[in-house]
């Protein structure tokens, strides 16, 4: 079942084109990785999918903003509120049917129950990112969008993060994540979307990108693919 359809999405900031004519579909339970060099338009595309940025042109069909969980690259929670207070606030703003139950569920799923009363400002970077993700998932969204979710995490924290995300995927949640880590994209994504200078250059499986470049190593294939297209 298709969860999200983006048709010819574009975003311009004045004369600068950040995203140009991007189209794709996202199936239920699918994990899609958006990769590309710096300034490719990954965050802009995710912001449009999240409903935080209106497209300049094109169409987006899918769940409403409340049906889409958004985990921005930088931790977007209140450092002077506790873990539980942050979750409760966003549960109420997301109009969760039972905010208390939603908070308890997310504390359990993220393993933060012991730290529920701690101020977010006092947590480690990894735990703060877990709170960030828990807020994105508080309304039990059908689609989860993550912008470089493991950028500030050590390998052990990264592994735990993906265990958690995969558990959600197993229940039917669709995931779109942007990353610079090609190995992470290859390991966890069923499909890649390559962006450069706002243009979508490739949409397919990691194996498909390697095959196109006759490379077993996906990172080398990705670099070669971009170089051939002048990026």
């Amino acid at each position: 079942m298709t969860q999200l359809v983006a048709s010819a999405l574009s975003k311009r900031f004045g004369a600068r084109v950040a995203v140009s004519d991007v189209s794709f579909e996202l199936a239920q339970g699918e994990v899609l990785a958006i990769i590309g060099p710096n300034g490719a338009g990954k965050t802009t595309l995710l912001s449009m999918l999240a409903g935080g940025l209106a497209p300049s042109s094109g169409e987006l069909r899918g769940p409403t903003a409340r049906g889409v969980g958004w985990v921005p690259q930088q931790t977007a929670v209140y450092s002077k509120l506790s873990v539980a207070e942050n979750l409760r606030l966003f549960a109420r703003l997301e109009r969760a049917a039972d905010p208390g139950a939603a908070v308890a569920r997310m504390l359990e799923q993220t393993g933060l129950r012991e730290r529920a009363g701690d101020l977010v400002g006092s947590l480690s970077g990894g735990n703060r990112q877990r709170v960030n993700i828990a807020v994105g998932l508080i309304a039990d969204p059908a689609v989860l969008l993550l912008d470089e979710p493991s950028a500030s995490l050590d390998p052990r924290q990264r592994s735990r993060l993906w265990e958690f995300i995969n558990a959600r995927v197993a229940t039917g949640t669709s995931v779109v994540f942007a990353t610079h880590d090609i190995a992470e994209a290859e390991r966890y994504a069923g499909r890649l979307l390559v962006l450069a200078d706002g243009e979508m250059l490739f949409s397919g499986t990691p194996a498909g990108l390697g095959a196109a470049e006759h490379e077993h190593d996906l990172e080398r294939a990705f670099v070669s693919f971009l170089a051939e297209r002048g990026h």
């Binding site: 999240a50 940025l53 903003a65 929670v77 209140y78 002077k80 207070e85 606030l89 703003l93 997301e94």
Partner: protein, 448 residues
């Protein structure tokens, strides 16, 4: 979307404020400190400047005689001592030393020849004032002494006018004049003219003496008429100009009460502008603005919440401050409801300005700095009197004061506290327009 998210957002911001002890401490301490300072300043008499005082007039010569009037010069000392705190010294050298050491900020010396100079009534009598220290101190003493000297001069002029009156009366109607121990009987111009008229009537009309006496009689007639009028002229010279006050547009506020309105407006502005700009900038600093703005909370609701929170806290702080001032200075408590209305209007306008600033910057520190940089000049500009600067510059200041909320808030508070003009309703209308304007500006600045 409506106002569904308002309560959780307000609760969140209050909780964050509650966990910022420095901020809460400042919010509590600020009105208390300002209220105490203003209360003490308005309820206590100002301290008189300490001035070294040397009176070199020998006690035996303190009373001078002008005609039949006796004038005691010590009376004028007392006038002067109402404006200064005199520190008696024995010599001019000691007076100078006191001023140089800073023990006194000036010295006032009454020279021994003052009674003679006054008694001569033909030359100006001088007192000597020595200043030291900065221009403000000098100006303070100068103003105090000059003001009291002006009063003393007026009293003296009045005494001299009485002396002149008595001489004119003597010339006109006659009487006894004591001079150098002898008493003389003065005939007076009126009686002289009467005697002359009788003498002329007894002389033959053709007598050459009659014509010459007639000329003297005419002179006496003219002198009687004009000397009589000169008494009024001398009386007017003794107090040439007096003040009759007329207030044109409605009621004006005494300076002390206006100071209360200024103090409340300044507190309200700082609390509201700093809180509103800071709380909105905090959303950017914590990166939560993007999360809220993706359909959870509308820009309008977010701005309303910040402005409402800042305005309510600003009103609470300012009202507490006004209550504190009320402990020292009598206030019209029957108008307390109007105070709150004016405070709320001003608070919302200041908060609207604050959210506009907060929407423009990305950090709390930058928002606070911007708030201070804009607020402080607004206070000074709103208090510039129109005669203090060139007309074109005052027009510019008036425009700037009109497009920012301080002046309008001050007028609203002045109207609410002191029943001054323009009316509270006019000031509230002005504030409402500014709320809409700055709200729209904030809305534009918050666009993704």
């Amino acid at each position: 979307m409506g106002f569904v998210g308002l309560r959780p957002l307000l609760g969140k911001d209050l909780r964050i404020l509650g966990r910022s002890p420095a901020m809460v401490g400042l919010l509590i301490a600020y009105p208390i400190a300002i209220a105490i300072l203003i209360g003490l300043a308005l309820s206590s008499s100002p301290a008189l400047p300490r001035v070294a005082f040397l009176n070199e007039i020998p006690p035996s010569q303190a009373t001078i005689r002008l005609g039949s009037e006796k004038i005691n010069t010590t009376r004028y000392e007392h006038e002067l001592f109402q404006a200064i705190q005199p520190v008696p010294v024995n010599s001019e050298a000691q007076a100078l030393a006191d001023v140089r050491s800073g023990a006194t900020i000036a010295a006032l010396i009454i020279p021994p020849g003052l009674p003679e100079e006054l008694a001569s009534a033909s030359q100006t009598a001088y007192v000597k004032v020595i200043y030291n220290g900065n221009a403000v101190n000098q100006s303070l003493v100068e103003t105090a002494i000059e003001s009291k000297l002006a009063q003393a001069n007026a009293l003296l002029a009045s005494q001299l006018s009485h002396v002149a009156d008595s001489y004119i009366d003597l010339l006109l109607t006659g009487g006894n004049l004591s001079f150098l121990g002898s008493t003389y009987d003065v005939l007076g111009l009126v009686d002289s003219r009467t005697i002359l008229a009788r003498v002329i009537a007894g002389l033959p009309k053709s007598s050459p003496v009659s014509a010459r006496l007639k000329a003297v009689e005419n002179f006496a007639q003219i002198a009687v008429s004009h000397l009589g009028g000169s008494k009024q002229v001398i009386g007017a010279v003794a107090a040439p100009i007096a003040v009759r006050q007329q207030v044109l547009s409605g009621r004006r506020t005494p300076l002390n009460n206006y100071a209360i309105a200024i103090a409340v407006a300044v507190s309200l502005m700082f609390v509201c502008v700093l809180l509103a700009s800071g709380m909105l900038a905090l959303e950017r600093e914590e990166h939560t603005l993007g999360r809220l703005r993706r359909g959870l909370v509308s820009a309008g609701l977010l701005l309303t919440e910040k402005a409402l929170l800042a305005a309510l806290l600003g009103v609470a702080v300012s009202f507490a401050m006004l209550c504190g001032i009320g402990l020292f200075v009598p206030l019209g408590w029957g108008r307390a409801a109007l105070w709150l209305v004016a405070m709320l209007g001003g608070g919302l306008a200041f908060a609207a300005l604050g959210v506009a600033m907060g929407a423009l910057v990305r950090e709390v520190r930058a928002a606070s700095l911007l708030a201070l940089l804009i607020s402080l000049p607004l206070i000074f500009l709103a208090l510039v009197p129109n005669a203090a600067v060139a007309a074109w510059l005052f027009d510019v200041i008036r425009v700037i004061s009109a497009i920012f909320p301080f002046k309008a808030a001050l007028e609203a508070l002045d109207a609410a506290i002191n029943q001054s003009q323009p009316s509270l309703l006019v000031a509230l209308g002005h504030l409402a327009a500014l709320i809409v304007g700055f709200g729209a500006l904030a809305r534009i600045a918050l666009r993704p």
